[in-house]
Symmetry: C2
Subunit: 414 residues, 2 copies
């Protein structure tokens, strides 16, 4: 039996423990294990947003003098803090979906004689839908390969899917949204032979990423998970510096135009990453993203990763000891080197159990149909005792059969 004292000890020796105080935690009795869906509110965000709103009120249109470069400035900060990318390679604006559309389209434009787009059949839905749309528009095949559902896409899977030499673009997630499996970005990118567009939504801010060193060409990702940018915060887009000049966005907007305010000329994109901007960027949101990025920069990815591995390790150990006897099964890689910062558990009654966890046990997990419960442990604010207590409460409620006592009508939102 792993005692609670073990978790308490880990918390006492956690060098990141103090960062929890930088987040708003109104209800300490509820254990939040869904920061991989929507990260917590940083305390500083309230103040920074208030200041930005006041700036809008007082500076009015003159505020744009300082706002207009925010997509690149926050992009550069994110590049340095969490992406291993160089200045001028990242912008923050639009949603992950829109950015994925832009980059997939741009990548396909330069993929001559392509007949197929490759992705993982279990890639995040919006990625698959975007690619499905692009494939239809361009008369291409969307080739979905089936990776191991727990271990995720491997270099050999990708090599096999590309064997025919007819692939124009590969799109994969760094960390699988369901299994938490961590793909080997460097190996897959180097061996692919065609551009790989990486979705970093479930890895950014919590897993080491070295886009420059790994030779990654294209990437997008979300800022409202481990970056704590807030609900619907704008996403980021990365395009490798050497490629930018050769890439064209399908959505030609005035914020990507060279000399944006010389308005009477035909479209002529900015030379750098700004060419991937479309319309006016959301300034309030960008300020909130910046706060989140600064917290990640302060903690450092190496420390965050160490703690996330320890937290997910503790989930796995407690699962083996307490949950496996109740019909749970680990649906994430057992090797900590091969998983991100969440763990999926399979159970035949996953949906009612996840409802009971929220309603009866004050533990907030995330259900992913048909049978997975995700437990996310963002290391900026998750304690080891949170994991210990959550697993204890989960075990107790299943032992008591409380999942049969809750309303388990169909899922609406997560």
């Amino acid at each position: 039996m792993i005692p609670r004292e073990h978790a308490e000890h880990l918390d006492r020796s956690d060098p990141l423990a103090a960062l929890r105080g930088r987040f708003v935690i109104d209800d300490p009795d509820t254990i939040y294990l869904d920061g991989n869906s929507l990260g917590r509110l940083p305390v500083a965000t309230r103040e920074m947003l208030g200041a930005l709103v006041d700036e809008w009120g007082s500076r009015l249109v003159g505020g744009w003098h300082d706002w207009i470069d925010l997509p690149e400035r926050v992009g550069d900060e994110l590049a340095r803090a969490a992406l291993g990318a160089r200045p001028g390679e990242v912008i923050v604006s639009d949603s992950t979906t829109v950015n994925l559309f832009k980059l997939a389209s741009a990548g396909l434009d330069v993929a001559h004689d392509a007949r197929a787009i490759v992705t993982d059949a279990h890639n995040f839905p919006t990625d698959r839908y975007v690619l499905e749309g692009l494939a239809r528009q361009r008369g291409l095949e969307l080739r979905l390969f089936e990776p191991d559902p727990v271990e995720g896409p491997q270099p050999e899977d990708v090599a096999r899917a590309c064997a025919g030499g007819d692939v124009g673009l590969i799109c994969l997630s760094h960390v699988g949204y369901r299994s938490g499996a961590l793909a080997d970005v460097e190996a897959i990118t180097r061996e692919a032979g065609v551009p790989v567009l990486w979705d970093l939504s479930h890895s950014v801010g919590v897993v080491p990423i070295e886009l420059a060193e790994w030779g990654v060409e294209l990437a997008v990702g979300c800022t409202y998970k481990y970056l704590n940018g807030g609900p619907g915060a704008p996403a980021f887009l990365y395009a490798r510096e050497e490629l930018q000049e050769s890439l064209a966005t399908p959505i030609q907007g005035w914020f990507g135009q060279r000399g944006q305010f010389a308005m009477e000329r035909p479209y002529d994109p900015e030379p750098g990453i700004r060419r991937f901007m479309a319309g006016t960027p959301p300034i309030l949101d960008l300020i909130a993203v910046r706060v989140g990025v600064e917290l990640v920069a302060e903690a450092g990815i190496a420390s965050l990763r160490r703690k996330a591995v320890a937290l997910t390790d503790l989930i796995v150990e407690l699962h083996d000891e307490r949950l496996a006897p109740l019909g749970f099964e680990l649906a994430s890689p057992r090797d900590p080197e091969r998983r991100g910062a969440h763990v999926s558990l399979r159970h035949d009654e996953a949906w009612p159990i996840s409802r009971a966890m929220i309603e009866r046990a004050r533990v907030v997990p995330d259900f992913r149909g048909p049978d997975s419960i995700r437990l996310g442990v963002p290391p900026l604010y998750t304690r080891f005792v949170d994991v210990w207590d959550a697993i204890g409460r989960l075990r107790d409620l299943v032992e008591r059969g409380e999942q049969h006592e809750v309303d388990a009508s169909p899922q609406r939102v997560t």
Copy 2:
């Protein structure tokens, strides 16, 4: 000579006068005539945004239960308050540029045998750039017609541009961003014979719009001008109910998917307007847009229009009396029925004059190259004395030649 007392009298009898108090006005000595670029901050926005941020902090992912429908809910409110559209025809999300791309693409998909897209050579840059990109991708001609630079696009212009029968889509602005000319949406839409995609960015919230009655099929527009949604606030998208089923967004995202959280199926769009959603909508911004929409609803478009006409009439009268002798020329329609809520004045020294207005006279206009100064008079918070004083200050500074004393290096931002 029109005396200041005339303006004071108009303010005293203005039924909307009290609404000015609903906006943050930190510096009453500065006259802000650029609300048509970025509207002012409503007092309520600070509080509503603070409440939403707190909701994020306390409800965390559970907040999505109430947030997920905000794009349609705010869309419906906007439809009723300012668009004359029916429930389920409008969503608020993404930028005007991205929404224009979605709808132009969807419209072209159903335009069989089209060989050209038509727009006004002086349409807003982002509209032209988006269309230019779509034309290139699809091997179509982008046919730019030259309307009268002051009076804007007329039904005959459009008929002439479409005479060959090869046009798949027309895209026009309701109010021209430069001239302020108000197009006859109903006449052009009914006579066009092909779908017309209207950009309502410079008319929404200040000009009566009856999309349902006028038979408009497709429209987009901005919320940070007369709707006061804040810098980079999300735009709206309107698609006529009867057409929605036949239209496909090019950006297939998970927020447009039927049964969004049943994640394992191929793309299958929602039946209604939600099919035009792409990624996760920006919730903080949507709350700010809602505040702006509510203010417009409270004032009522008819009252706003009456006041805007009176304000722009006063600019024209004062121009004729005081500015025309100094080399200014009216670059907006003289007929108030044919202009929106801003007036453009041409002058050979427009750029240095606009700098001097800001730096020397505490009047904030908007410069539009090469030679126009725009004076926007959002009726929610602009007073008649603001117009009287601004024109007086403008006349004085040009009489004194102060435009020769300011730094007039190239424009960066507006």
